[in-house]
Symmetry: none
Subunit: 259 residues, 2 copies
């Protein structure tokens, strides 16, 4: 797949009335981690640029250097075709309200088409976006939180939304080129053991348990079933089976039952 960063570079983040320079840096870092680039500040209350922003950006200084500062939210959104604003759940005027995953689902197709220009808008640390600002947005998005402690750090909110959009693009790409042969969710280093080699291992295991006089005092046959269940659950690969059989052979030699 092509890295989704190339699509995410077009997704604009707009911060309205930010108070703490450290948060601007934290937002830049979160954006760059997820492949976003385009950051706008609307009427920041924080001094900017600021060393605390540089510090928290932790290397995402290219984003800070390219920041555009606007006086009004309207200016920052002027060329956008879709605007999503973050919102607490309760507003007296109901508006289309999505969770971050639903939003990402909506955005993933539009991000692939250059004629769509999307912005995510985040409000002030202490009181979010005003009703007037929210009404500049096509959609509202709400991050589900603990109702008793619901106010996310600004960089954390940007992190969650950026992550969701990136995940939507990654998952879409993976579904398009899905491989069925990765049982552990990752590239593996050896093929899975065949049933035949597993059965040879279980025969060898049974013989070795007799050699070392291992008996389950409660139920000797049941212990073999339990061992089968355990090893089959792990789905051993061919190298692992070879290693387990090597251990059985060493065991038999040490027990004097095999030369």
């Amino acid at each position: 797949m092509s890295d989704p960063s190339s699509l995410l570079g077009a997704l604009r983040v707009v911060l309205v009335g930010t108070s703490h320079p450290g948060n601007i840096g934290g937002v830049a870092r979160a954006m760059k981690n997820m492949g976003l680039k385009d950051l706008r500040l609307v009427a920041p209350r924080a001094q900017f640029p600021h060393p605390e922003a540089e510090f928290r950006a932790s290397g995402a200084t290219d984003i800070l250097n390219d920041v555009v500062v606007n006086d009004t939210l309207e200016e920052a959104l002027a060329d956008r075709t879709l605007v999503a604003g973050t919102s607490a759940r309760s507003r007296h005027l109901p508006w289309p309200l999505l969770n971050p995953r639903e939003l990402a689902g909506r955005l993933q197709d539009e991000l692939r088409q250059p004629e769509h220009r999307i912005a995510l808008v985040f409000g002030r640390e202490d009181r979010g976006l005003s009703n007037e600002e929210l009404q500049l947005c096509h959609l509202h998005v709400h991050i589900p939180t603990n109702p008793e402690f619901s106010s996310l750090n600004l960089a954390a909110a940007v992190q969650v939304l950026s992550y969701e959009v990136r995940m939507a693009l990654v998952e879409q790409a993976e579904t398009a080129s899905r491989k069925e042969d990765q049982p552990f969710g990752t590239e593996w280093d050896a093929p899975l053991a065949t049933s035949e080699s597993l059965e040879r291992f279980f025969e060898h295991l049974e013989k070795t348990l007799v050699d070392i006089e291992f008996h389950d005092p409660n139920n000797p046959r049941k212990s073999l079933s339990r061992l089968r269940r355990l090893y089959l659950r792990a789905r051993p690969d061919s190298n692992e089976i070879n290693m387990l059989r090597g251990i059985l052979t060493s065991t038999q030699k040490a027990a004097g039952t095999k030369k």
Copy 2:
């Protein structure tokens, strides 16, 4: 639905070797936003408690007040039944590797059952978890990032994973129809082994392999890592661990290294 915070309170976050007190505070805030409570620090390099941690916690001081500090990761994990460690993608020994959404899918069922005790482990700001620490984990989780700027802030990483687990619980509750939630898709007959009993088994296994003079001709240390990976993947229950240890004891007796 009941708020998922009641389930998320049992999910432990473990930070290993954290350098910056501000990050500890940011983690506490991210946890509380998502309904988590149980924070452990392992051998922090940061001074703790610290005013910068208080500041960044922004009201999540209850979590900071209840922090437990451990000297070793083993102590922090001793009573856990499932441990997921955050990891960069490439490791020379592949291990079950999930993305945050896949992990949340795995955890959502187990969180509903009080006998499961889960930990999420996060490494140092500059170099993550060591290979030895990663091998204490059943699963590894990787947050998809921009390959050119992949290192997330610690609080941001905790935010993403906590958010995913919360989302999974919210979505599951919304999907309503509850199946019987079991780790292996069925009623099980014994509780899962704890990390502590698994570690005692691995020590016993290593000693026994020395006793029987088993050596991987290619790489003796790697074979121990491979055995850890295999057994952790199977997630042994407590009866299975007792049985495996019984086999080791019989092996040592047969080899004449134990009476």
